[in-house]
């Protein structure tokens, strides 16, 4: 349907023209990678699996996907809901479900280049060496598993008003990043935090990718947790959307 693709293109361009969004999503993971790389010896093996440089690259891919997903939805979405643009779209021929669907799709579309960019930085500056097949498998895996983050961003945009969306996004970014073990390996954390990480989608996303690279068998139910996050957050958005629709213009 041409209207739907026009809307998708419009949303994507609008997102890519936001310097704030670009600065945050490109800047954070890339700068953190460069910054933390020298924190330990890049070749040091982490928890008997992969080297620090590889761990950090995967973690920053994960963090980049998280930041992109949260910021593509989050503040932007709640502010345009506040200005009345979201409501205006409801009185156009655009199907009612397409607003949420397009937001998630566009988030996913920007997550991919962020992952690739961090990988390029990892290869160029971090000295990460992988075969072509592994690169593409890793990229696909990180991308697909970023879906809960894209949905989380839209969820925040729907649930939180424009003023509080900004701090909420910021807190989520660092809570999910740090406690998900993206800055410091979970294996280096005290026991309580190691347990806490188990409930965070960021931990499971990065774990899947690290398991792929180290050839290890999976230690936890990463897939079900990620799918659960996607489903629960998605249902919550649909519930909120329906509830608002039931109120009409009032």
């Amino acid at each position: 349907m041409s209207g739907l693709s026009a809307f998708g293109r419009f949303e994507l361009l609008r997102l890519l023209r936001s310097w704030r969004f670009l600065a945050v999503t490109v800047g954070f993971p890339v700068i953190f990678y460069m910054l933390f790389l020298g924190g330990r010896s890049p070749g040091k093996i982490i928890n008997g699996t992969v080297s620090w440089r590889v761990y950090l690259m995967v973690s920053m891919c994960s963090f980049g996907a998280l930041v992109a997903g949260l910021n593509a939805g989050g503040t932007r979405l709640s502010s345009e809901r506040a200005t009345g643009w979201a409501r205006q779209l409801r009185v156009t021929p655009l199907p009612p479900w397409s607003y949420v669907a397009t937001k998630v799709t566009v988030s996913m579309a920007v997550v991919l280049p962020v992952i690739v960019l961090v990988e390029v930085v990892g290869a160029a500056f971090g000295g990460v060496q992988l075969g072509l097949a592994m690169w593409s498998e890793l990229t696909m895996l990180l991308w697909v598993t970023a879906l809960p983050f894209a949905i989380l961003g839209v969820f925040v945009g729907f649930m939180v008003n424009a003023e509080t969306a900004y701090p909420v996004v910021t807190v989520l970014m660092f809570v999910l990043g740090y406690f998900g073990g993206l800055f410091t390996p979970v294996s280096d954390m005290p026991h309580a935090l190691r347990t806490a990480a188990q409930i965070l989608p960021s931990f499971h996303q990065a774990s899947l990718a690290l398991a792929l690279l180290s050839g290890q068998t999976l230690v936890a139910d990463h897939w079900p947790v990620l799918a659960g996050y996607a489903a629960v957050l998605g249902l919550a958005i649909i519930w909120k959307h329906r509830r608002e629709e039931a109120r009409g213009l009032a």
Binding site: S2, G3, A6, F7, F10, L13, R14, R17, S18, R76, S79, E80, A82, T83, G84, W85, R87, Q88, R90, V91, T92, P93, L94, P95, E245, A246, R247, G248, L249, A250
Partner: protein
């Protein structure tokens, strides 16, 4: 109606469905529509019909059921009972087919997406409609040419309102709904706006607008007042106008003589409370002259327009507001 020709040119498919709709069904039809919010009965068996090509003004105090009516019309709500039809189909279908355009009232913000140029927004909305006229037509009608290239967050209130109007008409909808369209406009912009509405009406568009400005009902073929979830008045704007030329005179007299006051020129209603007198008059000037002539020693004279609801109460003889029924 002569509208058949107009519609054929607007919808080149010229299908039977289209002609059938045009010839038989009205643009809008509410039949026995009931809508509740919990205990609150927002619409109480509302019946309303808007003819094709008609320009209708929708009036009503807050909480009267106006925004519920609008939400149902635009397909944003479903009725609990009764039926709502737009152009012979459900509002939802009419919306999905691009037959409706709407300019909503803004409570906060300017109703436009941030971080994009006006032209891009218009281009997007236009692409959502299957039978949109050339963009130039909309630019010309809405007068937004000068700020097409501007960022949406750099528009004044009046400019943003014109852009929202452009969004409402850019798809070439058959039925146009506008809610309080001139709220942020200056006098000049208002005049220009109603000129365009007039032109759209002449082109065969059906237009429904909600307003709080009595004088704006001049631009409607018909005025409908909704209150307590029902249509309480329905007639040409002129009738309304006549009803609202009524004025209220309030003053203080030491010993009010109700019988004498009742005989004053133009007076339609007399209320006395202690020394306070309230008169409703169709000719305030004549009433005041008569007061002086008959030697009534009044002070603190105040002349005000009769409120819209009260004017309509006079029109319909009905009970209009939640306010105590006066009289």
């Amino acid at each position: 109606m002569t509208r058949v020709g107009t519609d054929e040119t607007k919808e080149p498919d010229g299908s039977d469905r289209c002609l059938g709709r045009t010839a038989k069904t009205p643009a809008v039809r509410f039949q026995g529509v009931v809508r509740r919010y919990g205990q609150h009965l927002a619409l109480d068996h509302l019946d309303l019909e808007v003819g094709r090509g008609e320009t209708l003004a929708l009036l009503g105090p807050n909480g009267a059921g106006k925004s519920t009516t609008i939400s149902l019309l635009l397909g944003l709500l479903r009725p609990d009972a009764g039926s709502v039809e737009v152009l012979g189909m459900t509002p939802h279908q009419a919306m999905a087919q691009g037959l409706m355009g709407a300019m909503l009232q803004q409570t906060s913000g300017n109703g436009l997406p941030p971080g994009v140029r006006v032209g891009a927004v218009l281009d997007l909305v236009r692409r959502l409609y299957p039978n949109a006229p050339p963009l130039e037509v909309t630019i010309d009608r809405s007068g937004i040419g000068p700020f097409l290239g501007r960022q949406t967050n750099r528009l004044s209130g009046g400019e943003a309102q014109r852009v929202r109007f452009a969004i409402a008409i850019v798809g070439g909808p058959e039925l146009l709904f506008v809610d309080e369209p001139t709220a942020a406009m200056d006098v000049e912009a208002r005049r220009a706006f109603w000129r365009v509405i007039g032109k759209l009406g002449q082109d065969g568009h059906t237009i429904v607008f909600a307003t709080h400005h009595l004088d704006e009902t001049d631009y409607a073929d018909r005025v409908v007042v909704i209150n307590r979830g029902r249509v309480v008045a329905d007639g040409p704007g002129a009738t309304l106008k006549a009803a609202t030329t009524s004025r209220r005179l309030q003053f203080v007299v030491e010993r009010p003589d109700e019988q004498l006051l009742d005989t004053l020129e133009g007076v339609t209603d007399v209320k006395v409370r202690g020394t306070g007198v309230t008169l409703d008059s169709l000719e305030a000037d004549a009433t005041v002259r008569d007061l002086v002539r008959k030697g009534v020693e009044f002070c603190d004279l105040e002349v005000t327009g009769v409120r819209l609801e009260e004017a309509f109460m006079a029109l319909t003889g009905g009970d209009v507001g939640p306010r105590e029924g006066a009289r």
